[in-house]
Symmetry: C2
């Protein structure tokens, strides 16, 4: 049983998310998804949709076998529990494969890190772009994206 872990915020769901999860699922036998906690999203605007609701949607997606919220204090705790063979990261996720593998090895976790490529098929494949589309539709000047 080759377990794969995928992670993300999955705020306003789009086909880029689905592609990332489908590609991740193909790398093994069982896909576990770790959904980012609201309080742990710090490198981009906080999610529009609360964590429990984001988790519910991810659980409804066909490629997903198991999904859970991340650990607030220690991002490696779910990895210790799941013991995956592979962790996938999305094309736009902000850490390097090599650095993440080193952090895993330091903790005795022998996991391969694989980056999944970008999905190009649809126009609104980013939560930020969907938000901008809504603000433009309602003729709203965009103020302080990071509030």
């Amino acid at each position: 049983m080759k377990r794969i872990v995928a992670t993300g915020t999955f705020d306003l769901l789009h086909p880029g998310h689905l592609y990332y999860l489908e590609q991740s699922r193909r790398l093994g036998d069982e896909l576990h998804v770790i959904v980012a906690r609201d309080v742990n999203v710090k490198h981009k605007p906080r999610p529009i949709i609360p964590e429990e609701q984001r988790l519910r949607i991810v659980r409804g997606l066909r490629p997903v076998d198991h999904a859970r919220l991340g650990d607030i204090a220690d991002m490696f705790q779910p990895i210790r529990e799941i013991q995956p063979a592979v962790i996938t990261i999305g094309y736009d996720q902000h850490f390097s494969e090599a650095a993440l593998e080193r952090e895993l090895q330091k903790r005795g976790l022998d996991v391969e890190v694989v980056r999944v490529g970008a999905y190009e098929g649809d126009p609104y494949c980013s939560s930020r772009v969907i938000v901008q589309q809504i603000l433009e539709r309602y003729r709203c000047a965009e103020q302080d994206q990071h509030r």
Copy 2:
């Protein structure tokens, strides 16, 4: 083989959509979803997400066996092709079960219409509420919802 048809816009996906599809799927053996065409959405603001992208997301949901876009000119055409035993409508969809069954019968389509109840589990279970949440987050006065 008992086929079920569910319909909707599925603009900004939320757990209410998922609940409606899961409940619909349980009524038969195969769930066919008809996703509203952009040009046919007239009773509420036009969708944020284009039809092809909305279709792609619906196809990624676990309860969905088949999904297609609606017919622009004749909403009954996909029903003739699918020949379902049941059509489900969501708790907030704007037609009556009896009126829809009569329209189907006029066209020789013997289909039961079943309304699925509301889902109460999450706070942002409406595309409109998600849009409002985004506008509030960015401190934007909401102007002319129906543009």
